[in-house]
Point group: C4
Chain length 224, copies 4
């Protein structure tokens, strides 16, 4: 029966999302109720399992994951509301149909710092690192991964339209940074998206610490 | 019966406070017996549940939380004494009656560093970050949160009087830093106050690392 | 019976490797499925127990450890493939027959940063630290440990040949850094190799932070 | 019976020491088998419970704590040997008879960095921090705690004689740093000594990060 299958899917997805939330909370990536996570249950019509708004991610419970449709509206009754940023998740899974079966959004210290530091350049370039091979479809360290930076906005219609343009202009990118806000990445499965978060957060820390260390040499590598 | 209700309130408050203590200890925010935490049990007359003096916060037990009145005096017998800083908690819950149902005080590395770095400017400005929306009543990143800095003092009467002035001059602030000492913040509930700690500690680290990274550019953003 | 003994060896080795993986994952040294670990089960002919390719190291299971021969080929059926970097493990245990009964490879933030920072000098010099006595055969802090840096390469035949040359030129070294990639170290037992990782990662962080701190003094210590 | 009492003392001391070891290992202060810990069982004649040599501190077992006399010699049979640094522990408990009922030695990243950075000045000055009140007998932040730095030496007779001179010259100090080696501190009880470690490690990180952050201002505060 389809409905039973869908229910089991939601339960499994919700448990997996709650586990991811606890891990990210322990690393300080979703403090202050920041962050939201989603996985696609079905794509046509879209049914997206997503964390409800304003929850403590270290104590996330499976029943705090709700289902929304392609307009970001909840499809079942209940007092929990989806995050306003739900529309960004919907945009990503619609614009990256083959790559995005799950979307993760985090606020990390280094991601926040780099999103401001490289804003004038339009994005962060990650180049030549072996760990880039952890991104889907990347098979060599001789890769330049560009993480575009989008200005933050409280108007969600405007922000998701801006996100659509950034996604269209950067077809080979695996993630987008919102300025002074945080990281959005995605993957075929939740595990793939979590691996992308790990790869990108690792490299954000490497780049941030490298810039800090190299100041004295007057190097222009990062600022040319 | 009111007294039974009050007892249950204290037990619940004490368990919640002990849980908060263990989390903060694991993050290195209350080392060396630093820090103290309180929640309001009743406001008129004031009954404040607060951690006793000089305890290891990683092994905090519910029976190490005591009750004090509006002068900071214990209202029940026992060998445990309240912290001298108890008066600062009392001051905050009296001066912020609607906002402060719980008060948290922590010593973090970045909070300590910024409390000295920005002392001459009178406080730390946090501006334009999405995570500021984790502070009660803030609904946009286009916000300037000012965390005033107060000189430290071992004279508690003088210090709580100084704190009162700072609170009166900064009615929209959610927290105060004591110089080379630590952070005081508050919230309607203990969970709200803990969320505020997470938001502010996250941003203190972002600001501290940003200043360190940007030295080479001779930027005056943080020192104008 | 030898085969039973070998099986027990593999089981024990696999459990120990899985434990090491979980510890390293918690420290952020093997994110994004990075890293691989091996121990020698027998040396002539070589039977090497090694983690399979592309696994999440925080949830490593003993049955994800497979056995390969001296050409890096699996010696038992199964769907798990060895990592391409398996050949580097084989090279180390063959070229360091007395010292390398186990090989560990990690990606850490500071190791990655120093592998690029000191690339032009050919390696990282670690000098005068007491903790160097944690390296096998080192009995005084008055030691200069040289960790050579090798350029990264996706051609494994070329990379393992280059590794062989680096090992031959640095007979007293306990480890090699791959540029913008990570650390390879080894030890008589897995515990010895893990101790080496801890010593070297500790010192990479000390050296990286020291360089960052000392910029202002225009010191040439690290860049002469 | 006295002997039974002594045995119970050793068992309790050994369990407490093992717990401390696990906590410090998790924080990265005793990697690579670094560090050793002791508590006084009786003072005349001296019986000192101390960790044996070269153990993994994250898996420390109570039976890895042995008893030594005033010459640092084991007083009971067994294959475990005391650390060579055992003599430094003996020196501290003999020279600080009222204050040192327990001695802790750790290797931290910031302690190691500062032990070199301030070597020419003879020690690290910690001044004006509230958390200094976590040190025994300190009741105000208006305190200058001086942590003297002693050159490292593999000759233990010479090193313990040097330590004796440093202790005699700095009667109000609570700790000593060995250069490029680590921290020795003590307290009336093991809990007091662990509190001292937390206070000092916290402040080493504050001082190290402050120096790093302030470079651009050409401040001479830390280098005058």
């Amino acid at each position: 029966m389809p409905s039973a299958g869908a229910h089991r899917n939601l339960e499994e997805a919700a448990r997996a999302i709650a586990d991811t939330g606890r891990r990210f909370y322990q690393r300080g990536w979703v403090w202050g109720t920041a962050g939201n996570f989603s996985t696609v249950l079905s794509s046509d019509p879209l049914a997206l399992a997503i964390t409800a708004s304003s929850l403590h991610k270290g104590e996330l419970q499976p029943d705090q994951v709700i289902v929304v449709d392609e307009r970001g509206k909840p499809t079942s009754p209940g007092r929990l509301r989806p995050s306003a940023e739900c529309l960004l998740h919907v945009r990503i899974v619609r614009d990256r149909p083959r790559e995005a079966g799950a979307v993760l959004h985090t606020h990390s210290v280094w991601g926040t710092i780099l999103s401001e530091h490289f804003a004038a350049k339009g994005g962060v370039e990650l180049q030549g690192y072996e760990i880039l091979k952890g991104l889907a479809g990347v098979s060599t360290h001789q890769r330049t991964e560009f993480v575009p930076i989008l200005d933050n906005d409280q108007d969600m219609d405007r922000l998701q339209a801006g996100l659509g343009k950034v996604l269209a202009r950067n077809m080979s990118s695996h993630a987008v940074l919102l300025r002074k806000h945080g990281l959005y990445t995605w993957g075929e499965t939740l595990a793939d998206a979590e691996r992308h978060i790990e790869v990108l957060e690792f490299l954000f820390e490497v780049v941030g610490r490298t810039i800090t260390m190299r100041q004295h040499e007057g190097e222009a590598i990062w600022h040319s």
